[in-house]
């Protein structure tokens, strides 16, 4: 070893000498995600961390996402075993107010209707298999479908259990479309509703008592235990956080779930998800399919939510503004705000936000239930 060969050795270990084209592209993808997070405020917490994780994971030599790398450690600690999304869900539960849903429970059905998008996308993935380069198994298709749940932690949880190889593109699609809701949904809302429907005014929601809010998480978890045990990790975590918030006896827990814990876990989760965006896994034809199917899932979910609202108006005497059906996809609270904004554009006296929050949080339950079904049935019928 002389000086020359030492410099040679160093030069051979530089990035310049070791890049693959795929890694360069993925680093650019990471930069784009960060740009969207910062400049466009698209789900900034997640797209920022996922984007940064993607950059770090595609650095040659460093092996940051390998089993000994620090992103690999995050991955093993909380993605491979599904832990991080559940901790996020505890925090989500502690931040969610189910009051508007309890005040007008029938709007929950809109949160069911909007989940139809999940199953259309699932079917779409299986149909896409007819194209060359697409080889989605049923488990893959189920994971892709859950993008339509419009709920990041649920999508990550399901994918970590069923189809880990697709985690990168699925997470990116889920969070991207969640932040694109203000762009995706308004035209669909206008296309599937009439002006007359959109100006329907809804009466103010009744007051929901503290005790109702406390009994609800227990009741919902009870139903889930009886009917769908495979959804209980998700629904259980959500209701743990929600009961902690509503009961008023454990504010330290509620505060911790909403702040310190969810923030720390978000950092780890985002970086770890980003670390799965290695070029060979991401730069495939299948990723395009996933992005397309994710969009389909969101669009169809929005549509079925709207249509079901119109059907309910046909059946029931109490009229609801069908715009709030679009909020059933979840994407809390973005979709509810979009519904509220579109409603106010039609009629400035129309305050739909609270009414849209009902289907909106019901959509979280709906996609967790759909996740539970997929987790229960897919491994059996495959």
């Amino acid at each position: 070893m002389n000086i020359g060969s030492a410099f040679q050795e160093f030069w051979n270990s530089t990035g310049v000498m070791n890049f693959t084209i795929g890694q360069v592209i993925m680093i650019l993808v990471g930069l784009v995600l960060i740009y969207l997070a910062i400049a466009k405020r698209y789900e900034p917490l997640l797209l920022f961390t996922i984007g940064f994780g993607a950059i770090l994971a595609n650095i040659p030599i460093a092996e940051i996402s390998g089993p000994e790398g620090f992103l690999g450690i995050f991955y093993q600690a909380g993605i491979a075993n599904g832990l991080f999304p559940l901790l996020i869900f505890m925090g989500v539960g502690a931040m969610t107010d189910f009051g508007p849903m309890i005040a007008n429970p029938k709007t929950m059905l809109l949160g069911a209707a909007a989940q139809v998008g999940i199953f259309f996308a699932l079917l779409g993935a299986l149909v896409l298999n007819m194209l060359p380069g697409m080889t989605f198994s049923l488990a893959d298709a189920a994971s892709i479908g859950i993008i339509g749940g419009a709920d990041g932690p649920t999508a990550i949880y399901v994918t970590s259990q069923l189809s880990m190889r697709l985690l990168g593109p699925i997470a990116v699609a889920a969070y991207s479309y969640m932040s694109l809701v203000p762009i995706i949904q308004p035209p669909i809302i206008r296309a599937f509703t009439t002006k007359k429907e959109r100006v329907i005014k809804m009466e103010q929601l009744r007051h929901v008592t503290k005790l109702e809010k406390m009994v609800f998480p227990i009741a919902a978890l009870g139903l889930c235990i009886i009917l769908l045990p495979t959804a209980t990790p998700l629904i259980g975590s959500l209701m743990f956080g929600n009961l902690a918030k509503e009961c008023g006896a454990v504010d330290r827990i509620s505060d911790t779930l909403q702040h310190a814990l969810i923030n720390i876990v978000t950092i780890f989760l985002g970086l770890a998800v980003g670390s799965r965006m290695e070029s060979q896994a991401f730069l495939t034809f299948e990723t395009l399919g996933i992005l397309a199917l994710g969009l389909v899932a969101f669009a169809i979910g929005t549509m079925t939510g709207l249509i079901f609202a119109k059907i309910m108006n046909k059946v029931s005497k109490e009229q609801i503004n069908p715009i709030i059906g679009a909020a059933g996809v979840s994407a809390v609270p973005m979709a509810a705000r979009v519904a509220s904004k579109v409603g106010q554009e039609e009629n400035p006296q129309n305050f739909l936000l609270m009414h849209a929050m009902g289907p909106n949080v019901a959509g979280v339950l709906g996609s967790a239930v759909a996740a539970g079904i997929l987790l229960a049935v897919v491994p059996v019928i495959m």
Partner: protein
């Protein structure tokens, strides 16, 4: 096309169960609200209870200790 058939079955089962689940939840909430509102109506402006368990108890104790210490220094 067995795989697409599986997908269709999954769709049918999935959509059904999601609706069954949420319909049942609607009924449960209605019953729950009925019972709660009838038998456990909210009292007017309940006095805000101290919450946070250990936290607030510690705070009380700390206040008591502070008071006692201040007192003992006089």
């Amino acid at each position: 096309m067995s795989s697409i058939e599986q997908g269709l079955i999954l769709m049918l089962v999935g959509v059904s169960v999601v609706f069954i689940f949420l319909v049942l939840l609607v009924f449960i909430i209605k019953i729950m609200s009925f019972i709660v509102l009838r038998y456990f109506p909210e009292k007017e402006e309940p006095p805000k209870k101290p919450s946070g368990g250990a936290g607030s108890r510690d705070a009380e104790i700390a206040a008591a200790i502070a008071a006692a210490t201040a007192y003992s220094k006089q």
